[in-house]
Symmetry: C2
Subunit: 423 residues, 2 copies
């Protein structure tokens, strides 16, 4: 903490700062007077806090609106597109992805590297993750982007808030203290480090994307992330539902065949062994998703049959999900978003046959807006959420980093290497 005032005063400022930033985030273009009205704070307090947020590049202030009519018009406040970014990392079963996303949702950097993480020792995977993370941080620094926090998406059960991965069957992981391991390997990690389940993060990212598109009417759905594993994110009334311990949404181990193939989870005949990406590729005799899509585009029969069969199995499992949860919409994400044109029909046919309420309330099956990028975007957004809910702590860290290279608080340098708190 760089704050030198009494603790009580700091707590109040911290609270009010978050209140003001929240008001600006939810009403882009609002005036200072508007923020005062929304928060119940005095105009003087709002002005001081807005100045603080503007100096830290969290908020952008646009010139006075010279409109006709009586009264002085306020300036227009919104989240700054030049402010801090969240750095998202996704540890996929067969890839590593990173992305850098700003406060207003724009993607500043995005990389996906194909790499097989299956059955490698966690240490080797983590070394690679640390390397990718370091490169993404260096690129951000080169672009003079301030990284406000890091979020990591993993295909497994995560213990909150420690960031320990309890189990990730498709990676062969058990009890990996991911947050601690990454902090050890990347000592300059900026801001908070948040670890989450990839399917849950993908669902939240999709919800945000739908809101940006003004499709917020779609506030209850199950987002299915189809990769090597299959995960689900359950959104009910605009809020992620992830259960009593955050372990919810594990659709991949839905029992399909009692005597089916053995799954790394220990059970047999799990949905992801029969309808996951690898199962489809093997049955379609395709090496990767791009090849598969080419075969499907050409109407090749084996590939088409493989995807249709997966669609039926997925549809049967999802019929059980809809019968249980009565959600109106299924969103196909990950690889399934790519395969949507061929998956949707057999999947919808199963839902129509098996969902009790479907003759009266047909279930909508739609393609994810974000596709395979949803989880890593969600990871980046989860990192930014810690900045948005506690801007004062971010500012304290940011100015501390700045002070090392500049002599005045809040006077952001325009060149040099000191612009990132990671430096």
């Amino acid at each position: 903490m760089t704050d030198s005032g009494p603790a009580g005063q700091h707590t109040v400022r911290r609270h009010n700062c978050a209140l003001v930033l929240g008001a600006i985030a939810s009403s882009p273009g609002v005036s200072r007077a508007g923020v005062a009205a929304r928060t119940g704070l005095t105009k003087a307090t709002v002005s001081t806090l807005v100045d603080r947020l503007v100096t830290a590049s969290l908020v952008r202030e646009e010139g006075r609106q010279h409109r006709s009519g009586p009264g002085r018009r306020g300036t227009s406040l919104s989240l700054s597109p030049d402010g801090p970014c969240g750095l998202g990392v996704e540890i996929g079963v067969d890839y590593l992805a990173t992305c850098v996303v700003g406060l207003t949702g724009e993607v500043r950097d995005e990389r996906v590297r194909r790499v097989d993480n299956r059955d490698r020792p966690p240490g080797r995977v983590l070394a690679r993750v640390a390397q990718e993370l370091g490169r993404a941080l260096a690129r951000a620094e080169g672009e003079r982007i301030t990284v406000g926090g890091v979020g990591v998406a993993v295909p497994g059960l995560v213990e909150a808030p420690s960031g320990r991965v309890i189990v990730a069957p498709n990676l062969g992981w058990q009890d990996v203290d991911l947050a601690a391991e990454l902090r050890r390997r990347v000592p300059v990690l900026p801001g908070d480090l948040v670890v989450g389940n990839e399917a849950n993060l993908a669902a939240v990212a999709e919800l945000d994307a739908l809101r940006h598109r003004d499709e917020s009417v779609l506030d209850s759905f199950v987002h299915v992330s189809g990769e090597v594993g299959i995960g689900a994110g359950i959104v009910l009334g605009g809020v992620l539902f992830d259960g009593s311990h955050g372990f919810g949404g594990e659709l991949g181990h839905f029992p399909v065949q009692a005597r089916g193939p053995r799954c790394p989870c220990g059970a047999r005949g799990c949905l992801e062994r029969l309808a996951g990406q690898d199962a489809i590729l093997e049955r379609a005799r395709a090496d990767d998703v791009e090849t598969l899509v080419s075969l499907l585009d050409a109407g090749e029969r084996t590939a088409t049959a493989a995807v249709r069969s997966a669609g039926r199995m997925l549809g049967s499992a999802l019929s059980a999900v809809v019968n249980l949860l009565d959600v109106p919409t299924i969103v196909l994400g990950g690889t399934y978003a790519r395969l949507h044109p061929w998956l949707a029909d057999p999947l919808t046919a199963e839902l129509t046959d098996r969902v009790m309420g479907s003759p009266w309330r047909p279930v909508e099956v739609r393609r994810s807006v974000l596709g395979a990028e949803a989880a890593v975007r969600g990871a980046a957004a989860s990192a930014l959420r810690t900045v948005l809910t506690d801007p004062d702590t971010y500012i304290a860290r940011f100015t501390q980093a700045e002070e090392r290279t500049t002599n005045s608080v809040g006077n952001r340098i325009e060149g040099g290497s000191g612009s990132s708190p990671a430096s």
Copy 2:
């Protein structure tokens, strides 16, 4: 409406009356001053409303507590055990049940009649329901019990708030306007008529029963009603979750065998065809549940194997439910409550094998407190809820009925036949 004052005044009294009754219901033994403190109403207003509630037998007032110490002690207020009762009716696949439950949860009357309602025309079943309802009302009248409302539990999808049954596969019903049909057949039906899904009503009744037992720590669970059909009631954080249209919790049509037996729902291999009561009885070669329990008690092998097989299938389906919802507890209700000693082990073994988080957070499998009575009790409670949330309307109806046979409002007669609003 019997109220003669202006509309605004009536609306306020109606609101305040519900507020006062709610405060008394949630704090049994509270004083008038305590109610005033909890509601923010003046003591004078509280006194007037409490008098109104006492006169209507909704609230019981017990004598001044003569304790030592300064200050006048208030009287102690609580819901009246002699007040109105809810009449619950359950239309089972192979039985009709009725029960009468008071405001404080005591059961005043309960009857179960074995009758096969399968594939009978809805009209014939409804005639029988109307007959049972009429008998229950007559018994209540004979006991001078005021029935404040009627709740009906059905094994199917119900459209709220119309009370229309959209589909009930095991009854062979489709589009039956149950509420309207019952009102037509039983013109003296007292108070509101509420129709609900039996599994959801059972789960709410179980939640209430757990609260009465001070087990309110158990506030997230899936209650499985095992009868001829299988239904689930999902309770999350102390609240029933029944989905976007109230169609949630349909566990019975969980897909178990792609080429399994045909189900009245239209699909194949549904859980309830393979692990429901009739499937177990057939496999165990038992005519009814009592015979089955005798065979199980005697350790008969065919019966034991039949129940264990059902337990494994149920466990496999419930593993998918827990993987999806991450609920810590499964409550076995209905016939499954009777079979709990033989079902629990194979069921728990499947959960242990298939639930991803179970090595870290084992799932608890417990027997329902209410057993097969849960749904009809829930139906009765749902009828009383309308009295508790709008006591003023109940009082208006009640005094209207009283006025027909007595000459003064609120002067409850002690004898004669006019004590029930159904008369």
